[in-house]
C-alpha cells in the first residue's frame, strides 16, 4: 500500500472504530429518548420501525410520570440524601485528607492507601450485617439510613482524591501563615480550604454521583415507596405487577441519568487522576 493510501485507510478505520463504540455505548439512551416520547400505539406495533416516530410524538408518558407516580418524590429524596451525604463527606474527608497529606513517611503513605482500599469494600459484603445495624439504630425504612451509611464509601474515595490535591499545595504557604500567628488549624481553615475550593467541588460532585448510583443499600434498607431513592424506586416501584409502562420508565431513567452525566463530564479528568495515582507519572 502506498503511504497516502495507508494513512487514509488508518483514518477511515479510526472513524469506524470510534463511531461503532459510540453507537454501542449511547444507543440505549437514544432508545430511552425515543421510547419516552412515542405514542403507545406506535410503541407496541411490530410493523412500525422502532427507531423512528411513525406517529406524532407525545408528552403523555412524561405527564404520567410526574402526575400519577411518586417520581418527583424520589428525585427529591435522592437530592436530599445526596446533599446531606455531601456535607457529611466534606466534614469528615477534608480534615482527614489534609492530615494524611501532611503526615510524612511510611505510615502516611500506608494510611492513605488503607483509606483508599476502604472504598473497595463492596456493599454486597456488608449489606447483611448493616441491615441489622440500621434496625438497631431505628432507621429502617427511612432515608436517614442512607444518610448514615453512604458516607462509608464517599468518605474513603473523597479523602483519597483530596489527599493528592492537598499534597500539591506547598507547605511553605502554611508555614508562612503560622509564622504570622495563625495556628495549624487556623492555617488549614483560613488558607488551605479556600484555595482548595475546586478540589472540594470535585469531591462534592463525585460523592453526589455515587449516591445517585447506589442500589444495594437502598434496596436492602428501604421498603416503602415514599422513602426510596430514584435508582431503586424506578426499577422496583414503577413496574406494577407484570405490567411495564415502558414509555414512563424510559423517561424516568433518562431524566435521572443525563443531567448528572453532563456535570460529571466536566470534572472527569480529576476523577481519573484519583484512580491512577501511582500508575501514571
Amino acid at each position: 500500500m502506498s503511504r497516502g493510501g495507508r494513512s487514509r485507510f488508518l483514518r477511515a478505520a479510526h472513524l469506524v472504530v470510534v463511531a461503532a463504540f459510540a453507537l454501542f455505548l449511547s444507543f440505549p439512551f437514544y432508545w430511552m429518548l425515543v421510547t419516552s416520547f412515542k405514542r403507545t400505539s406506535d410503541l407496541y406495533d411490530l410493523d412500525h420501525n422502532p427507531l423512528l416516530f411513525n406517529v406524532a410524538p407525545t408528552l403523555d408518558h412524561w405527564k404520567l410520570l410526574f402526575s400519577e407516580t411518586l417520581y418527583g418524590r424520589w428525585l427529591a429524596n435522592t437530592a436530599l440524601v445526596g446533599a446531606l451525604v455531601v456535607v457529611i463527606t466534606l466534614l469528615l474527608a477534608v480534615p482527614a485528607a489534609y492530615s494524611l497529606a501532611r503526615l510524612t513517611g511510611k505510615w502516611g503513605e500506608r494510611a492513605g492507601i488503607g483509606m483508599f482500599l476502604m472504598y473497595l469494600v463492596p456493599p454486597t459484603l456488608l449489606f447483611i450485617p448493616l441491615s441489622r445495624v440500621v434496625v438497631t439504630l431505628g432507621l429502617q425504612d427511612s432515608i436517614w439510613a442512607l444518610v448514615v451509611v453512604y458516607p462509608t464509601f464517599t468518605v474513603p474515595f473523597s479523602t483519597w482524591l483530596l489527599m493528592g490535591f492537598f499534597r500539591s499545595i506547598p507547605r511553605d504557604l502554611e508555614d508562612a501563615a503560622m509564622v504570622d500567628g495563625l495556628s495549624r488549624f487556623g492555617a488549614f481553615a483560613k488558607l488551605v480550604v479556600p484555595i482548595s475550593y475546586s478540589g472540594i467541588l470535585t469531591v462534592a460532585i463525585f460523592s453526589f454521583t455515587l449516591v445517585l448510583q447506589e442500589f444495594v443499600y437502598a434496596l436492602t434498607f428501604i421498603s416503602s415507596a415514599s422513602q426510596q431513592t430514584v435508582s431503586v424506586a424506578v426499577p422496583i416501584f414503577l413496574v406494577r405487577g407484570d405490567v411495564y409502562y415502558w414509555g414512563s420508565l424510559m423517561a424516568a431513567c433518562l431524566l435521572a441519568s443525563v443531567p448528572v452525566a453532563i456535570v460529571y463530564n466536566l470534572f472527569l479528568d480529576r476523577f481519573i487522576a484519583g484512580f491512577t495515582v501511582g500508575a501514571v507519572k
Binding site: Y44, L117, S131, W246, F275, V280
Partner: protein
C-alpha cells in the same frame, strides 16, 4: 483531624465486617434474636448447595468474560480516541454515559431493548431474515447469561477506556514518533511500545474492573433476578436472595464472605504497586 473519619469508617465498615464473620459462624435469622454458634456449618452448607455452586461458577464467568471484553474494547477505543479530532468532546460524553448513569436505570433500558416481544434487536433480526423465530434474550439460560455479561461490559467499558486514555496521554509523544521514524508500523508501535509502557495503568483498570464486576448484583437483579431457574445467579445476588429476601442472615453473610478472598488478592496487588511507585 484524621480521627472523626477513622472512627466513622471503623464503626460502619469495620464493625459490620466483623458482624458478617460472627453471623456466618452462628445461626441468625431475621425473626429471632437468638444466636447459636455453629462453627463453619454455614460455609459447608453453602459449598455443598447446587445453587451456590452455580452462582460461584457464574460469578467467575461473568467477571472473566466481561473483563476480557472490556479490556479488548477499551484498548481499541482508547487508541482511537488518543488522536485529536473535532467532535471529541461530544464523543467523550456519549461514551461515558453508561458509566455515569445509575446502572440500575441503564439495566432497565437494556431490559426494554431485550424485551421478549418488542426487542429492537429482534425487530431487525426478523426483518433481515437472520432468524425465523425471535430469540428470548432473557428467557433462555445461555442467552440470559450472555445478556448479563454484555450489559456489564457496556457499563464498565467507559471507565476502563478513560483510565487507559489517561495512561496513553501520559506517554511522551516523541517515543512512538521515534519508533515510527525507525520504521515500526502501526501494530508494532502499539503492541511493542505503547501498550507495554502503560502496563501499570492497565493493571489498575483491570483490578478495579474485576472488583466492581465480581461484587455487583444490580445488573443480574434487574435483568433476570437470577433466572431463568437460577441459571444467571451470581454470588452477591444469591447472598441478597438468601440473607435479605429469605431472611437467613447467617447463610447470606457466609455467601457474601466468599467475595472477600478476591478483595484481599486485589488489595495486595495494589499495595505492592503503590510501594513500587514510591521506591522508583
Amino acid at each position: 483531624m484524621l480521627f472523626p473519619a477513622v472512627l466513622f469508617i471503623g464503626a460502619l465498615v469495620g464493625v459490620p465486617f466483623l458482624l458478617a464473620i460472627v453471623y456466618s459462624l452462628c445461626d441468625v435469622k431475621v425473626a429471632s434474636d437468638e444466636m447459636r454458634f455453629v462453627g463453619f456449618r454455614n460455609f459447608a452448607d453453602a459449598l455443598t448447595s447446587p445453587a451456590f455452586q452455580t452462582a460461584l461458577r457464574n460469578s467467575f464467568v461473568f467477571t472473566l468474560v466481561s473483563q476480557a471484553l472490556v479490556l479488548a474494547g477499551a484498548t481499541t477505543l482508547a487508541l482511537a480516541l488518543k488522536e485529536a479530532f473535532r467532535t471529541r468532546g461530544l464523543i467523550r460524553f456519549l461514551i461515558l454515559l453508561p458509566w455515569v448513569a445509575p446502572i440500575s436505570l441503564g439495566s432497565i433500558g437494556w431490559k426494554w431493548l431485550l424485551d421478549s416481544i418488542y426487542s429492537v434487536f429482534n425487530w431487525f433480526l426478523v426483518r433481515l431474515h437472520v432468524v425465523d423465530s425471535p430469540p428470548m434474550w432473557l428467557g433462555e439460560p445461555a442467552l440470559a447469561m450472555a445478556s448479563v455479561v454484555l450489559v456489564h461490559t457496556w457499563r464498565m467499558l467507559p471507565f476502563a477506556t478513560v483510565v487507559l486514555l489517561a495512561g496513553l496521554t501520559s506517554i511522551p509523544r516523541d517515543i512512538p514518533e521515534a519508533a515510527a521514524v525507525d520504521g515500526a508500523g502501526f501494530w508494532r508501535t502499539h503492541f511493542q511500545i505503547t501498550l507495554p509502557m502503560i502496563r501499570p495503568i492497565v493493571t489498575v483498570a483491570v483490578l478495579f474492573g474485576v472488583i466492581f464486576t465480581f461484587t455487583d448484583m444490580t445488573v443480574v437483579y434487574i435483568l433476570t433476578r437470577g433466572g431463568p431457574y437460577d441459571t444467571t445467579q451470581v454470588l452477591p445476588s444469591l447472598a441478597f436472595l438468601t440473607g435479605i429476601l429469605g431472611g437467613d442472615l447467617a447463610a447470606g453473610a457466609a455467601i457474601s464472605l466468599f467475595l472477600f478472598p478476591l478483595l484481599l488478592v486485589v488489595a495486595w496487588v495494589m499495595l505492592r504497586m503503590a510501594r513500587r511507585s514510591v521506591v522508583t
